[in-house]
């Protein structure tokens, strides 16, 4: 099927690739179907594009490239929502990025990652109970940004 998107234009998707968020995601609760499209091969970045709403698109990233120590614990009851039978380790975890005008100040939402069961493509934005995580962690360390800024972009 072909879907219309603001960011990627018209794209063809396979209905088998649609990821279902039974509860939607906070702020966009009514939209439950998305596709996850890699930015390009080997990139840690992906588009999370709504199938229903062309202008609803989020950038998500693999957490461990930027936060190697990132860890979340998902309660058994939550795993049931995703219909996980085997190991929780099989789940795919992504962080939603907020990219401001100065992209070097991009932040990641560590508090509430996107969790996908690749086997049945059931997904949710999971709210971790870990108090050390917030919705806005810089993905680059400040010293590396400063060094890059000195280089003159």
């Amino acid at each position: 099927m072909i879907i219309n998107t603001n960011v990627l234009g018209e794209i063809e998707i396979d209905s088998k690739d649609i990821v279902h968020f039974p509860k939607g995601i906070p702020a966009f609760e009514e939209y439950k179907q998305y596709v996850i499209i890699p930015l390009d091969e080997k990139s840690p970045f992906y588009y999370l594009q709504s199938v229903q709403k062309p202008d609803l698109c989020l950038i998500i990233a693999q957490p461990f490239v930027f936060f190697p120590d990132y860890e979340i614990e998902i309660a058994d009851d939550e795993l049931q929502i995703l219909d996980v039978n085997g190991e929780a380790a099989d789940l795919a975890i992504y962080l939603i990025l907020t990219i401001p005008e100065d992209f070097r100040l991009t932040t990641a939402n560590l508090l509430a990652p996107i969790v996908v069961n690749p086997k049945n493509r059931q997904a949710m934005q999971y709210v971790t109970v870990n108090v050390k995580y917030s919705t806005r962690h810089p993905i680059f360390r400040s010293e590396s940004m400063a060094a890059a800024a000195k280089e003159g972009d």
Binding site: A27, F67, D76, F103, R104, T106, N109, A148
Partner: protein, 89 residues
């Protein structure tokens, strides 16, 4: 909305297995204890509002997102590429 008064040490039962008790009151600060099954998600309302607001911000400006993503892709920060260790200082 049901509104009722409670004193310190008193509690409220919700459904079959949730008990909410008033632990302490200091001025306008009230400490609440909640006994509930693990399957019941409990968090401060601000947490959910914070996530809603961040999702809106993250998807707010698609042009900025596109430009930023392109730069992000090409960006090779000096030294340590990774962000913080995930801890809030």
């Amino acid at each position: 909305m049901l509104v009722l008064s409670r004193k310190i040490g008193e509690s409220i039962i919700v459904g079959d297995n949730i008990e909410i008790s008033i632990v302490d009151i200091q001025g306008d600060n009230i400490r609440i204890g909640i006994d509930a099954p693990k399957s019941i998600k409990i968090f401060r309302k601000e947490v959910y509002e914070d996530i809603q607001a961040e999702n809106k911000r993250a998807s707010g400006d698609l042009d900025q997102m596109k430009t930023g993503l392109q730069k992000l892709k090409e960006f090779k920060p000096m030294g340590n590429q990774r962000g913080g260790d995930g801890h809030v200082d």
